[in-house]
Amino acid sequence: MYNTTYYAATSLADAAAKIAADGDAKFLSGGQTLLATMKQRLAAPTMLIDLTKLPELKGISVEGDRLVIGAATKHAQVASDATVKGAIPSLAGLAATIGDPAVRNMGTMGGSLANNDPAADYPAAAMALDAIITTSKGEYKATDFFTGIFETALDEDEIIVKISYEIPKKAAYEKFRNPASRYSLCSVFAAEVSGGPRIAVTGSGNEGVFRVPAMEEALTRGWTADAVTSVKIDPETMLSDMHGSAEYRAHLVAVLAGRAVAKAG
């Protein structure tokens, strides 16, 4: 790791001011991606601005038909919180699949969404549950937020504050793990929200997380596994690596979508 300095931000404005003053500074949340990258000397921020102490980034609550979670909420909290489990059990279940206990007790929802790793889990939930991502500068719909692999709509100095998810009529998450890293190789979040059925896939798309309109449309005609498993996914749109070819991933999307739909009931 290269030398760096650590700064615990005291307010959103304080954090914004710090990053404005130093173009090579970076926001730090749980550090489960950023610190690992720094240890491998692939990133060298001059300063780490810790966001996890900011009160605005904390808290879990139900507001109307939405579940609102602060960006600094750790995966372990999401996995075990009674409010989350009551409102969207599949989201709590998803959080419980992330990494190992050490990662879950440090890593945060905001960090995961800001990072937008193509193999991360939360982006699938955000897409399927019509999430609204509130930042220090404004609001984004999930569909506008994720702009490509490791790319988001965030500006360098923009902070995710909270994420609100629509509480679905039903939902389920099927995670297929990369056998080595145990990140998602291909995972499907299926949900029925007020706008209709949603199928969101992570781990497989060559542009990151994506929805499958053909499956969603098929589900409007009846919530059955068969409705989605017959939809063909184009391997051209899939990632391909030593853990899974594009063809295999395309196949998995259909199989896992069917299982997620069945599990959601």
Binding site: M1, Y2, Q40, P179, A180, H243, S245, R259
Partner: protein, 786 residues
Amino acid sequence: MSAQGIGARVARKEDKRFITGAGQYTDDVYERQMSAAVFVRSPHAHAKITSVDTSAALEMPGVIDVILGQDIQDAGIGNLICGWGIQSKDGTPMKMAPYNVMDPAVVRYVGQPVAMVIAETRAEAVDAAEAVVVEYEEQPALTDFGNYAAGPVVHPGTADDNLICDWQLGDEAATDAAFAGAAHVVEMDIRNNRLIPNAMEPRSAVAHYNRAEDHTTLWTTSQNPHVARLVMSAFYNVAPEHKLRVIAPDVGGGFGSKIYIYPEEIAACYAAKRVGRPVKWTADRTEAFMTDAHGRDHITKAKMAFDADHRIVGFKVDTIANLGAYMSLFSSATPTYLYATLLSGQYNIANIYANVKLVYSHTTPVDAYRGAGRPEATYVVERMMETAARQFGLSPVELRRKNFIKDFPHQTPVLMNYDPSDFHGLMDTALKTIDFDGYPARKAESERRGMLRGIGFSSYIEACGIAPSQAVGSLGAGVGLWESAEIRVNPVGTVEVLTGTHSHGQSHETTFAQIVSDRFGVPIDNVSILHGDTDKVQFGMGTYGSRSGPVGGSAIYKALDKVEAKAKALAAHLMEADAGDIEIENGELKVAGTDKKLAWHEVCLAAYTAHNLPEGMEPGLKETSFYDPSNFTFPAGTFICEVEVDPGTGVTRIVNFVAVDDFGIIINPMVVEGQVHGGLAQGIGQALLEGCVYDDEGQLLTASYMDYAMPRADDLPSFGLDHLEIRNPSNPLGVKGCGEAGAIGAPPAVINAITDAIGTNALEMPATPERVWRAIQSTQTAMAAE
């Protein structure tokens, strides 16, 4: 005998230290004025080094020195060697290319060291290493070693076709004749995947040069510190043996990868002398992936001939073994004498012929890894047996039983002379343990849930405690493979055992103490085991090949014989009895048939006060033994694996796994079970998860745990274990060795089970979900075509 003696399930003495974080590993060694070393490593698999500019690095804060390969050569430090010489079938010796500590001119694998930076702190050394500017002229790399002759040449002038040795074993003409007269021939292409050892503790070295004494101390992660010292002094010219102390303190796993002496340790010794400061180097995990000697990597074509009654009449095996860029210390023996000699498996096979081509490639050196040769042999034999049974429409149990060896000792056509075991008995027990009769019902139940269930067998035999020295010497080994022990009984009756073996997970502190406790009735807490320090312990050969129990334990046994004889003679003298009438029981020496007795510690004290010794007896109670076994030992077993395959995703889950082994006499059942569990985890890891991948340019794609899949606890079932304890007649303890069996026997059991479930014979390891899914697709396509 004692409650903590041989056969007792006592808890490990070393666990307290390890579990509470009190272990002392090489990286825990801190010396005054210690400096830190970091290596600049090649990013290319094959390149010429055109220039190295260290000027910027030398200006960096804290930098003490930057050492290049030429410096080490100029200091007269020799090349690394392969210590087992073999010959091609035409009689020419193997083609061993120079293996420099740091080659100044050419790099031949990604991660090869190019320069060594010494600084005040590790952080400064890492920074400075980045500032060393190396110019490379990239060359094409050979990774597709099956096409070794066509590829870029790794060592021009030494092996222009990349062939190190074209080795053979067995009678080819007789084997061909057997095939000519055979009723059935079964053929297979078999690949044994390449593995990265992944010891929990990465390699590390601390070198300290004492100018006053012209003496070097090296702490290092070694499985065999005496061998390290011998090789470093006799071949690498680091220091003469009496001026070099090698200490291997607590070592966190080796699996073979810490047998070898690596460039970094040699460079550390040189650097400590050069900079006049102690030097520490500890690999990070990426370095461990790139530079620890890898394992396996065979491509094999095998065919087996049967008579009309399905008895094996001939077996022919052609293997290409990838040794990587350089010949590591025992790399020549692993795919030859440790492999082809086990191709008879548990079966009566009159004719066997094996041809092994050992080849270079632009990859990390490959050497012995847990099992070393025997897993490769077992995989070939047991995949063949299962495939043959399917081809004949026989049950795999029946085909094996038809061919099992029943009479012992049994001389195979490939050198080995098997000591007694009971292959039918092992199979019987395994079938019972897994409830084989209940299998059809379990399969039907899986099918109801849409899952494919399969069962697979593996009846392995392996060879441990490689010996005797004279025999291995005649096959080319550069060392003897005996073991030593010294027993020091203190005046108060406590016992110190000095062993030439080394524990890096094998539990010697417990099991060796049990051997002593068994003999004298002393509690194991009164016995300490010393190992791993060439200044303290007499010469010994270290630990690998499951030799610690059979060879090291037997040396202890022999030394105990001498201690016992002396203690008895002294006790007889003190009690005015005949030595032949002295019995040792519950920590007392008694005169048989009388109530005369002395406590163990009273006799020990008498040996040291020496006030009343028998005529001619020397004071003290300390004995040494050097034990050379008369034969290998032959652990054997039958493993049965049951899997459930998800046809939708290709995911395999092991739902049932039974391992029934004959390890001879068992010293501590709990320790043996632990060894079997670990071995099975590695064997299952090889079958399902682990696979080292290089791309065409020779880049290591699996250089972290993000991409190299290590088995985790939830990948494994709860194992069903059992043993047959058939005494080994070739050593006094009657033990056979248990350290590698799990890793040897497991892979074919797993692959046989999956291929049974999905109805195909062709499936490569690791059987990843995608590979299994594709195999299912191709069988379905084939069925549709019929």
